[in-house]
Amino acid sequence: MKDIGYINRLDDKTLEALADDVNVHVPRDLSAKVNEALLAAALSQEDSVQTAASGRHRYVIPAALSFVCAAAVFASLHFRGYGQPEDTFDDPYLAYAAFEQAFSRVSGKVNDCARISSAADHAIELTSATMNRLKINE
């Protein structure tokens, strides 16, 4: 193995001359080895592209569901009169009770959203597993 200083000093012209030196024996199986490397790279890339794609799709449906849930919460609060809440209270206890009531409703809706999202996650995993199985059987 040549030392680092020597390798650094190799200029383009010398390197090209080395590449063209037909006196250096090239192993017969080099072609097969190169093909193996290319196939491995192609398969790895194929795999990583699929993983990335499935990773992206994994979040699309939960994100959409979350958005729908948030919109539903907003709409339900708005149409039940929470769109124009009383914002001034003479009695601080009444103000606190109004706050508490509003947050308990929001909390309930958020829990509903989490439940729906969790159920969807299971369905997505099932679909993904089925797709993988189909891919294997392809």
Partner: protein, 161 residues
């Protein structure tokens, strides 16, 4: 750059690249490994290879740098092994940035274990991007056998990995 263009332009350079690697590394196995690694890297970058005016010079430069990295890595390993300082004893065995290379090595070993027929059709499908009809013409296999063989090859690879 398409798969076939890559194969037509870059693969014929392999002998010259091997000679350069062999001159620097002075070992047939190391030189072949360096050339394999280079081609694996080039394949993943083939989308940007269209703009390369001189593929030979480009590959030689990349190979020189790859060989330099190999020499540096080996020197580092030797240094660490000589120092033999407790927790660092095995640090070089699993460098954190070596994961893609290790994965690629595992895939290559798995490919090596495939029967030649399966390897050939997989190469045609994945590497050369050939259609089923084209592979059928070249191999003389019928459609169903071809699909089965490809499926078996992929399944075996998954199992081996």
């Amino acid at each position: 750059m398409t798969n076939q263009e890559f194969i037509d332009v870059f693969v014929p350079l392999k002998d010259g690249l091997y000679r350069v690697a062999f001159h620097i590394l002075e070992s047939a196995d190391d030189a072949a490994d360096a050339v394999q690694d280079l081609y694996a890297k080039l394949w993943t970058r083939r989308d940007v290879l269209d703009g390369i005016a001189n593929p030979k010079a480009y590959c030689i430069t990349l190979l020189k740098n790859a060989c330099l990295n190999r020499v540096r890595s080996l020197q580092y390993r030797n240094t660490v092994a000589l120092e033999g300082s407790g927790a660092n004893d095995h640090a070089w065995e699993n460098p954190p940035d070596d994961e893609p290379a290790r994965k690629l090595g595992a895939v290559m070993r798995a490919i090596h274990q495939l029967p030649p027929g399966q390897r050939r059709v997989l190469e045609m499908k994945v590497l050369r991007d050939m259609s089923y009809e084209e592979i059928q013409k070249e191999t003389g296999m019928n459609y169903l056998s071809l699909r089965v063989m490809l499926s078996q090859a992929r399944r075996k690879l998954k199992k081996l990995l």
